[in-house]
């Protein structure tokens, strides 16, 4: 296989594999670019948590357990283990925010009563897109999140590769050089104008 054909095929197969990521990033960017429309439609406030269920937690935590240990144990018992944040409120309650892409949840554990309140974030389509767009994974400590972060890096590498291989493929087609140079120069000029002025 010649280098040219290898570049063309890599350009294509990489795109066929990564198109769901690119489609998601394109749609979510459009949604964020027009956030005001969604805010107008849904009202000004942030999405609210809605009660889902309440129960009494009868598990026992290890002596001197840290917050992450407690949150991990509670989430595992609810079959909700995954990327989350946790903090302790001034009244002693432990609040876990489970960063689910589709249905984020807030779980509040009150040690005094052993009460567990599970709430889910009300659905907003634009918020789902934004969560997808902003999701990072390396710091969560969960394998699936780490793999997701690797795929995001692959998508970033893919974008850079499409740019460079696209230039290569264009240059190989002599007949497209004049019009291509015009399109390329127009794009670079406009981009530079924006960077210099706004």
């Amino acid at each position: 296989m010649s280098p040219s054909l290898l570049i063309r095929r890599t350009h294509m197969y990489l795109a066929l594999f990564l198109f769901p990521w690119l489609l998601m990033y394109a749609l979510s960017t459009a949604v964020m670019n027009h956030r005001a429309l969604f805010v107008d439609a849904a009202g000004n406030g942030a999405p609210q948590f809605q009660p889902e269920r309440e129960l009494t937690y009868d598990g026992v935590f290890p002596e001197g357990a840290e917050l992450r240990t407690i949150s991990g144990q509670i989430l595992a018992s609810l079959d909700l283990d995954g990327a989350h944040g946790v903090n302790r409120r001034k009244d002693g309650a432990i609040v876990i925010t489970r960063n689910d892409l589709l249905t984020p949840r807030r779980i509040t554990f009150t040690p005094a009563t052993r009460g567990l309140v599970i709430e889910k974030l009300s659905h907003r389509t634009n918020a789902v897109f934004e969560r997808f767009h902003r999701r990072r994974g390396y710091a969560t400590g969960y394998t699936l999140d780490t793999i997701w972060a690797v795929t995001v890096d692959v998508a970033i590498g893919g974008m850079m590769f499409w740019v460079l291989s696209g230039l290569w493929m264009w240059w190989e087609m002599k007949v497209t050089r004049p019009l291509g140079a015009l399109a390329f120069a127009g794009g670079v000029g406009l981009f530079a104008l924006f960077i210099a002025t706004i």
């Binding site: 594999f17 670019n33 027009h34 696209g166 794009g187």
Partner: protein, 201 residues
Amino acid sequence: MTFTHFNRRLHLYLGLALLPWLFMYGISSIPFAHNQYFERRDAAKRLPLWTLRSTHTVDAAIPDDPHQLRAFGASLLREAGITADTYGAYRQTPTQVNVYVYSFRNSTQLKYFADQKRLTVEDRRFRWDQFLTGMHGRGGFEQESLFVRSWSVIVDLVCLAIVLWIASGLYMWWGLPGSRRLGWLAIGAGVISFVIFTLGL
């Protein structure tokens, strides 16, 4: 010109015209994806991010209506003698409003403390990672300047272009019968992985 030919040219010329944006979105995703690394690197320099430029005495009532915040932010900018095309005003607490003024290269923040009748102006130190993430995150149609908003039109165009690259790319792939088997494998692997992430994350 046949549709196949038109499709190939659209894929190519759209790519060449929007190449700076695609490159920018790619490279600027790195500091987003590896935020902690860049933060650690900057923290090691032990330099303050914001430098106080000036302090003003201002007596103004913070409006209750969130829709009035932008106009309030503009009045704070006038008090500080700052001309800005691009800014946003945000209520931090019932007695504090912050106004962020930004261009691709510079950022300034105004903090107004109503209970102290004090307005401070601070400039942000230039950081390459924030320069890139600033470009990446820029968008929306809230600014008054038509030229500033035209950047957001290009952002929409890039989104549309990505959809068109996907559609035209799929069409070109289908025109290569020898690549179909491996292509189906790549599509299947991508779609299945994406669905697993969607349900599992």
